[in-house]
Amino acid sequence: MDDEKYFLEIIRPLFTDWSQNRWRIEVATSPDQALEILKARPIDLIVVDVNMPVLDGGQFLTLLTRRYPALKKAALTALATEEKRSTCLANGAELFIEKPGTLEGLKSAFAMLDELVSWKTQTGFQGMLRQVGLQDVIQMECLGRNSSILEVNDQTVSGRIYIQDGRLLHAVAGSLTGEAAFQKLLSLPGGAFQLQPFAPPPARTLDTPWEFLLLEAARVHDESSPKSPELAGGQESPSADGRAARLMETLICSGQGAPLYQWQCPDAAGRVDLLQAISHSATRLGQLLPLGNFSRVEVQCQDSRAVMRTAPDRLIFVRVAGENATPSP
């Protein structure tokens, strides 16, 4: 972002060329434009001119740090002073660069910025995420009845999950939308996420309760081999979009069995008994066999499938009916 348009016109083709098209560069001549771009798509790095009218770069960095804490930021100025440098770094910039006046200087600036981007790509915005981490974030947002947009990306795909008042409204990942997009994002072996302020989604593509979607994501993940072309090739999982699941009942309890949420669960007490029996059996199996931590049990019945998850702080029961629920004879 720089109010000197000619400078942007110079560096855009140069940096694109020097990055060998690894960089996709967006330019803005004002903070408003920059914020629009940040809202529209995931951005790895923003380079901010410090000497801007109305809202100077230092203030803008503060705003960016507050709104996009994981975004990498570099400050650029033609008149570098120690005071400006201290201010920019204190306001969240990772790099403070004096605006180059020569081609060699631009190359040097590009090298520093490229290094910053490379470091970020290798380690993630705030460390690489494991899938369970992303699930935890979604669960936290939904249980807290929060409204937010969860931006998820790795090197192959970018996506968004819209959450309003703890309900999943919409998911998009590349060209996928809905449950296929949701499962795609949760199947990523690593990547990064940012929680953004909520804004209405362009469409509503999710109406299945988040509890089931998360359990389904865990199941798909466990059943997908590393050799699975669906995952290795970045294609959507057939289980994610091919399942015509219809929710029959849901129950979520505390670890002690106190119901926290139930939907069409006529015998909650009975389900709690069952979940506690499952927990007991899981402990017993874990003592008999070196299997590590228990995740869940899936029960396939004639016309439905039940998934039960037990953890010290949560007991979950979800039952669905679906055309794929029974294995083909």
């Binding site: 466990d222 059996s281 299997l291 590590g292 228990f294 294995p327």
Partner: protein
Amino acid sequence: MTPALDQWLSRCARSSGTFGCAVQLPGQAAVIRSFNDRFPPASLAEALGCLAESAGVISGHGLLPRWFTWCFELGQLRAVLRADGALFLILLQPESPAAQTLETLTREFLALG
């Protein structure tokens, strides 16, 4: 145990990642096959008993399972129940080649009855 079932049980180890398997026919002793030292036959036999009990508990709560899978961090236990009372157990490594054969083995066991 019929020769066909015995032969089928031996085939369960073909895919790498199978730790062990077992079959319990009504009124007969369980047949246990262990393919990994960490999962000895005695432990698999006890696990089979535990899963048979679980099947009863689950059925008692109105869910009549055809099969059920216990998912752990390092292993998956699938129990398949046939209408004639036969129970098949297979223990395998998640995300292994064996895990890809799980649905096929389940269908085959159900068809063997």
